[in-house]
């Protein structure tokens, strides 16, 4: 439970941080809230020689909202997401999901950037970002580039981010006014990662589904965007048969690990239950 030794850097700007990443190469890790990285270092599963602490970088600490366009800085904490009334007003699923991450102490420190950049399939925000069709802004020595959340995750702890890049911003367009949403997560206790979790963002046109975005957490080595399930629900009246078809389609793309939360078949089953319950709950909040 004692990390290996490392050097500590505290850049004041994105460009300084990116410069350090380039200089130190793959021996350098960004540390944001440290609540995923430091436990890994204590287990010596991660042994960076350089830690680049980004807490002094002002450019990545804001939430800005223009109409329905939302930009969240990578260093915005989970607690700040929860307390933002403006964000909650146009996209309530962010507060709902953030409140299901860990516990208040961790949320005071853990950042949204760390949560999505980490690449741990247990993190809750990546599936939310996929459902929202968010875009991640990555800064590198050649400037910035944008990657869709739906294209970002490659395998556990492997993402489209190059080692020399830093995540600076998360951008998305809030779902249409009147949308319903829900993040349904089953866990063993406070502070646990999901046995399975599902996010549903639902827009209704009268009694038919105009659009739906479903994504899953911790039931594969990446978050899962449930495209087929979405397709099966759009245009339906959310009748039991359509919901069942969507649930089965969502379950079909899962490939969870056996772990202390239960074996594979159980976690796939729970993913289905979470999807179904999230659809029904989202429907009650949609107008």
């Amino acid at each position: 439970m004692i990390p290996g030794s490392f050097d500590y850097h505290r850049p004041q700007s994105v460009s300084e941080a990116v410069g350090l990443l380039k200089d130190k190469g793959d021996e350098a890790f960004i540390v944001a809230g440290g609540h995923s990285l430091i436990p890994m270092m204590k287990l010596r599963m991660s042994t960076p020689e350089h830690l680049i602490d980004i807490q002094d970088i002002a450019e990545i600490k804001n939430i800005s909202i223009f109409g329905s366009d939302v930009t969240i800085g990578a260093f915005v904490t989970q607690a700040e997401i929860i307390s933002s009334e403006a964000l909650h007003g146009i996209c309530p699923v962010l507060r709902e999901a953030s409140l299901q991450i860990a516990d208040p102490q961790i949320r005071n420190v853990g950042t949204i950037g760390g949560n999505v950049a980490n690449g741990d399939p247990g993190n809750d925000m990546p599936a939310i970002m996929q459902a929202l069709d968010a875009t991640f802004v990555l800064a590198g020595e050649e400037g910035t580039r944008e990657v869709k959340a739906r294209d970002f995750y490659e395998a556990a702890y492997f993402t489209a981010r190059a080692e020399t890049e830093m995540l600076t911003l998360i951008k998305f367009t809030a779902p249409a006014a009147g949308h319903g949403s829900c993040y349904m997560k089953q866990k063993r206790k406070i502070g646990d990662y999901a046995t399975a979790a599902a996010v549903v963002i639902l827009t209704m046109n009268g009694t038919t589904v105009q659009n739906v975005e479903i994504a899953l957490t911790n039931v594969a080595d990446t978050p899962l965007y449930a495209e087929e399930a979405n397709r099966l629900l759009i245009g339906t009246s959310l009748d039991d048969a359509s919901i069942k078809a969507a649930v089965e389609a969502a379950k079909a793309i899962t490939d969870p690990a056996d772990d202390g939360r239960g074996p594979k078949d159980f976690r796939t089953h729970i993913a289905g239950v979470m999807v179904e319950r999230a659809i029904r709950q989202a429907a009650t909040t949609a107008s």
Binding site: M1, I2, G4, S5, R44, D103, Q186, R188, K189, I190, G191, D192, Y193, T195, D259, G260, R261, G262, P263, F266, H269, I270, V273
Partner: protein, 807 residues
């Protein structure tokens, strides 16, 4: 003392804050302000730090250990292996169970995370870095992780060090992986009862391997002063005196040259009773280097290498008449002890007091057989917040009662009432050899049933079940009852010892001239609040306010010899010693008072805080006045001073009991269990501090919830340990913990000087079966007889699925 304003007798009693007062815990001022002083807070000049290289395999031969790279790290002082300890004959140490345990693995490792080498460095960071650099080459051997396969003909021999020693500490061993067979009761008689019975139920009930998981892990600081030859050992010890004696026996340092100090301890729950390789290695390292050496394990080391609990595979059979009168009990246990037998039971009881398994029932004939076996798992088998193997026994009988009720189609509470030992049967001789001291089980059960309105709960359940069958709900309601009887306060020296040390305990009280006092005990608090409650016993016995009494424990240089704190023994044994020491003081005080009042001792009577002349209460001397007199007056025939010591050998154990009820709802689609109500009625005899009792019950119930609903240390087929971190090992938070309702009846122990029985462990003992019974009860009408713990989401869902209930 102001004689102008005489206060009422009630007022005087209140001022003492003695027995029965909900006095606030005196310890909390420092704990709540972060000013506790734990082992890891001890920093001595020049202190070095030790850390272990541990085995990555569960069963392997060690081919080589390469320390070179690690020794080259600046700040590394030395690295100990079994080779270094052999010349001192310290590569093995005796366990409390009559076995030996490798201090550092000698040629072979027997469980994953076993200690192989001890790195000594200038600080813990350097030590941790160096640990990574020690290279161990292994030749893997097939592991045994299933206790049921340990005694197969072709099973690999685990303990080569004792393979020729077929006579174990507790009799003959029938296989090289066998440790003991312990039998109690009447085997033939119980088999006959089973054969003759109208009804027999049988079930294999497993109490899974769990871990006490105290928040503070185990650790020590060993400090050898080479100039005066004295060894001081600070550590997380639940039994400091026993540690001193063991340390003396194995190091050959004379006992007067060893001082063992237990500072504040952050929870023990049985995990801190035994002796661990870390203590030996730190001590050797300090002797070798001449400077203090600290060893403190981390969370993973604690969960995977220091003493686990339970791991009992119990087969129970009950015989009964059609009407539900139990006529016999038969049980066999396969006990998985891991790689070394490191249980911490009294010597003559290798399966602890498992023979309390007849529980609260009047069972005419019973038999228990326990086979202990070795497996490639961590050693232990300690009493995790229970008296020795009492939780296992209570779990077995309380599950079996429910299974029998189901078979008889009878309400389980009714079955219990029918078979309880009756009030007038106490003292009661159990079929397995115990003498239950006192109890009134029917009254306790009936009080509990009324408090929860048991008939209404069953009616609600019937409605819910019908609604479930109609498809109107996906939840099932479960009602769990447990009526447990514990056996605590080990124990009478005639049959209870640990390594030959009789299990008495002690208290020494010294009254200061101005009427305040210090009391020292042979026990050690790990959160139980001894400094608060034992001062209350002294207060009531000698009439000095609890506030004016300092209580000290845990330093073997100052405290009288005692066997420590575990098995709910502090109040039954050291609490009794405290009362007896107080009475000795009072006896001398009476002589002093008689002299001062110029009367015969027989003319005096004790009243709250004073001796007064019978029939003339105005003529009195308070304890405060007597104390001063004892220091400043020459009293003919009496030595000056006022102090006493008592070593108390209890005539019997005490038998606390309780009636617990749990109500929960199960979501059959997710396996999520919502405990909506938990009611705990405890009878622990005289109640010294009701607030502390309530706190103990809350804590113990929370542990019971954890065990029943989620805790488990498992091993895969290669012997890799699972669940060794708090991510997986279930420690509930306030969010998962239900509201606890507590209640009481009071039937004092007839043989204890103040009638107290001990309470710290009751909630763990009774809580686990109550939770488990409730989960089983939820599915009972669908044909379930028993489902194994822990009742985590997956297993509960699986149970529902197997019964065809899950969607």
């Amino acid at each position: 003392m102001n004689e102008q304003t005489p206060i009422s007798r009630e007022e005087r009693i209140k001022n003492l804050k003695g027995i029965g007062s909900a006095r606030k815990r005196v310890e909390d001022a420092r704990f709540t302000q972060g000013a506790g002083n734990y082992v890891d807070d001890i920093n001595l000049p020049g202190m070095l730090f030790g850390d272990f290289v541990r085995s990555s395999h569960s069963h392997a031969r060690i081919i080589s250990i390469d320390k070179e790279a690690a020794l080259a790290v600046p700040g590394v002082i030395a690295i100990l292996t079994a080779e270094d300890l052999k010349p001192l004959n310290l590569h093995y140490m005796p366990t409390l169970a009559g076995d030996v345990q490798a201090v550092l693995a000698d040629e072979k490792v027997l469980f994953q995370n076993q200690e192989i080498a001890f790195v000594i460095a200038e600080d813990r960071y350097i030590a941790a870095d160096a640990v990574e650099l020690v290279e161990v080459e292994y030749e893997e051997l097939p592991p045994i992780t299933d206790a049921f396969k340990a005694m197969d003909d072709d099973a690999p021999v685990l303990r080569e060090d004792i393979q020729d020693k077929m006579e174990g500490a507790h009799g003959p061993r029938k296989h090289k992986n066998h440790i003991f067979l312990w039998e109690q009761g009447d085997k033939e008689g119980s088999e006959k009862a089973l054969a003759d019975a109208d009804v027999v139920v049988e079930e294999l009930i497993t109490y899974q391997r769990v871990h006490p998981c105290p928040l503070e892990t185990c650790g020590c600081v060993a400090s050898m002063d080479k100039i005066n030859g004295k060894l001081t050992l600070y550590g997380t010890f639940q039994a400091p005196h026993a540690v001193r004696t063991v340390a003396s026996l194995i190091t050959n340092i004379a006992e007067h040259n060893i001082r063992v100090v237990s500072p504040d301890i952050g929870g023990g729950f049985g995990n801190k009773v035994g002796v661990y390789p870390g203590y030996i290695c730190a001590t050797v390292a300090s002797i070798v280097t001449g400077v203090p050496v600290k060893w403190v394990e981390d969370r993973i080391e604690n969960l995977t290498s220091t003493a686990f609990a339970r791991d009992y595979h119990m087969t129970g059979k009950i015989a009964a008449t059609k009407e539900g009168k139990i006529t016999g009990l038969w049980c066999h246990v396969l006990a998985d002890h891991g790689a070394f037998d490191a249980c911490a039971d009294p010597t003559k009881f290798p399966a602890g007091f498992f023979n309390i398994v007849t529980g609260s029932y009047d069972i005419p004939v019973a038999y228990v057989g326990v086979d202990g076996v070795y497996t490639n798992k961590a050693p232990g088998g300690v009493a995790y917040r229970c008296s020795f193997r009492v939780t296992e026994a209570a779990y077995l009988i309380e599950r079996m009662i429910e299974i029998l009720a189901q078979k008889l189609n009878m309400d389980p509470v009714e079955l219990r009432l029918k078979n309880f030992i009756k009030k007038e049967q106490f003292p009661y001789q159990s079929a397995l050899g115990w003498e239950y001291d006192s109890g009134d089980y029917h009254t306790a059960m009936e009080k509990g049933m009324a408090a929860v309105d048991y008939p209404a709960l069953r009616a609600e359940q019937a409605e819910k079940r019908a609604a479930f069958d109609r498809g109107e709900t996906r939840t099932l309601m479960g009602i769990g009852t447990a009526f447990f009887t514990e056996i605590v306060g080990a124990g009478p020296v005639k049959n209870c010892d640990i390594l030959g040390l009789g299990m008495f305990d002690s208290c020494e009280i010294r009254i200061h001239p101005t009427g305040s006092a210090i009391a020292r005990l042979g026990t050690i608090s790990q959160g139980q609040g001894h400094a608060t409650t034992f001062a209350q016993i002294v207060a009531t016995e000698i009439g000095i306010p609890a506030e004016d009494i300092t209580l000290e424990e845990g330093d073997t240089d100052t405290a009288p010899y005692g066997l420590g704190t575990y098995g709910s023994r502090s109040t039954p044994v050291a609490g009794a010693a405290t009362a007896m020491a107080g009475r000795k003081i009072r006896a001398k005080a009476q002589m002093i008072a008689a002299y001062l009042l110029e009367v015969h001792e027989g003319d005096l009577e004790w009243d709250v805080d004073r001796f007064q002349i019978k029939g003339n209460p105005e003529a009195h001397k308070t304890m405060k006045e007597i104390a001063f007199a004892s220091y400043n007056q020459a009293i003919p025939g009496l030595e000056p001073g006022l102090e006493a010591v008592s070593y108390y050998d209890p005539p019997n154990m005490t038998y606390p009991y309780g009636a617990y009820f749990c109500v929960l709802d199960i979501d059959v689609d997710t396996g999520v269990v919502d405990v909506r109500r938990f009611y705990a009625l405890d009878d622990c005899g005289t109640r010294i501090n009701p607030m502390i009792i309530e706190g103990q019950v809350h804590g113990g119930l929370t542990e019971a919830l954890a065990i029943a609903m989620g805790q488990e240390i498992t091993y895969d087929e290669m012997g890799n340990v699972k669940g060794g971190s708090l991510m997986d090992f279930y420690l509930p938070t306030a969010v998962e913990t239900p509201v606890w309702e507590t209640d009481e009846t009071v039937v004092p122990s007839p043989h204890h000087p103040i009638g107290a029985k001990g309470v710290g462990e009751s909630p763990n003992v009774g809580g686990v079966p109550a939770f488990s019974n409730a989960v089983n009860d939820a599915f009972a009408h669908k044909g379930l007889t028993h489902t194994q713990m822990p009742h985590d989401h997956w297993r509960v869902w699986k149970t529902a699925e197997k019964l065809g209930l899950s969607g």
